[in-house]
């Protein structure tokens, strides 16, 4: 351990030796790996049927708003493209990607806003719903780790995945929001 008088707490903590778990933990893990690969994200998958149903309503309430500026952007882009003779195909493709990326980011922001502003009025999640929401939040955290990287080669795929996860989370929270709203929202945006 370093012994400088002005050693910061961070330096002192980082200088602590790594701890080793007792026993051969790989052997225990290895037995479960093939099954783990066969059933990915089991808990997350359980919530999807309900999430998909609720997402129909949520799409109307939340996501639709984010489409308007995106559609406008798309129309503008198409108009601009068609009015330019001999436009380089690569440039058009790059612009389309940028537009799509902007759409995904807007949608992600709108869903997050809804989760923050409206979701807080929902009844607290419990049991399996809580576990599913936590797992989705953790998966969003993993996407964010990759999105925070300085080098971005998969940005669109990552944002697409982020939006998908936020939609699942929104659907889950929306069900509870409907319950907390005493059915009023359900009547307005029935999915049955």
């Amino acid at each position: 351990m370093p012994a400088a008088d002005n050693l910061s707490l961070g330096e002192a903590l980082r200088a602590l030796p790594l701890a080793a778990p007792p026993g051969d933990n790989w052997a225990v893990l290895a037995e479960r790996l093939p099954r783990a690969r066969a059933t990915p994200s089991r808990r997350h998958r359980l919530v999807l049927p309900a999430a998909l149903a609720a997402a129909c309503a949520v799409a109307f309430v939340v996501v639709q708003r984010t489409h308007a500026p995106a559609d406008t952007a798309t129309v503008a882009h198409v108009a601009a493209s068609s009015s330019t003779n001999g436009t380089d195909a690569q440039t058009v493709s790059s612009e389309a990607e940028s537009t799509r990326l902007a759409q995904l980011q807007q949608r992600s922001a709108a869903l997050e806003r809804w989760l923050r502003d409206t979701g807080r009025n929902a009844a607290p999640l419990q049991g399996q719903d809580l576990a599913a929401a936590t797992e989705i939040e953790n998966l969003i955290g993993l996407v964010d780790v990759e999105l925070a990287a300085p080098r971005q080669t998969q940005a669109q795929a990552l944002w697409q995945r982020r939006v998908g996860l936020l939609e699942d989370l929104t659907a889950l929270r929306y069900s509870n929001y409907r319950l907390a709203a005493g059915g009023e929202v359900a009547a307005a945006y029935s999915i049955d």
């Binding site: 080793a20 990915p40 955290g141 080669t153």
Partner: protein, 197 residues
């Protein structure tokens, strides 16, 4: 903030690609390299070797399940560390530790320029002092100082406010000072629990 986390192990792209295709031998190599960093992170946050071992197991299981979704823009170690942190935090939530936020007394009166007792403490003494902190306080200290996370990041992960993270860091740091160097510490004052009328 400069972070020299023990997780910072770069892996060959080929090894990651093999693991993404389900190659268990490749995944074992990844496991062997990250077993101790994951276990150490979990042990520092949870304070219990058995819980840390369970966290290691669940972290690696989830990493195996999800590695095909890893796109490769960020280093794998950062991605794996996120899974490990999430797993440890989930255990803290289950144990209701995240709600036990008022169990470290305030030591805000200590001067910032007071001598740092950890400069002269050996590893065992520092580990013993860390072990005396509440799990959530110790987790904030570790995530901030060792894993290089910011207060907003810690707050988000814990479902708390940025102020909560800052206050846990300040209180935990002061508490460590007091444990390691009790002679210079302010007297510990128990919170007043007199009923209000």
């Amino acid at each position: 903030m400069v972070s020299a986390t023990s997780f910072q192990i770069d892996l060959p792209a080929q090894l990651i690609e093999r693991a993404q295709r389900g190659d268990v031998a490749a995944f074992e190599q990844i496991y062997r390299r990250f077993e101790r960093p994951v276990f150490t992170l979990a042990l520092r946050m949870l304070g219990e070797p058995e819980a840390a071992r369970d966290t290691l197991h669940d972290t690696m299981l989830k990493a195996f399940e999800r590695i095909a979704q890893f796109r490769g823009d960020a280093p794998l170690w950062a991605w794996l560390r996120q899974i490990a942190t999430n797993e440890a935090l989930m255990r803290l939530r289950r144990g209701d530790h995240l709600n036990a936020s008022r169990d470290v007394p305030d030591f805000d009166t200590l001067a910032d320029d007071a001598p740092a007792p950890w400069a002269h403490a050996d590893a065992r003494a520092l580990e013993a002092a860390l072990a005396q902190l509440p799990a959530v306080t110790r987790s904030v200290l570790w995530l901030y100082h060792v894993e290089g996370q910011t207060h907003p990041e810690i707050a988000l992960a814990m479902g708390k406010t940025t102020s909560f993270s800052k206050s846990q860091l300040a209180r935990g740091t002061a508490r460590l000072r007091a444990i390691l160097d009790p002679e210079t510490a302010e007297p510990e004052v128990e919170p007043c629990l007199l009923p209000t009328t």
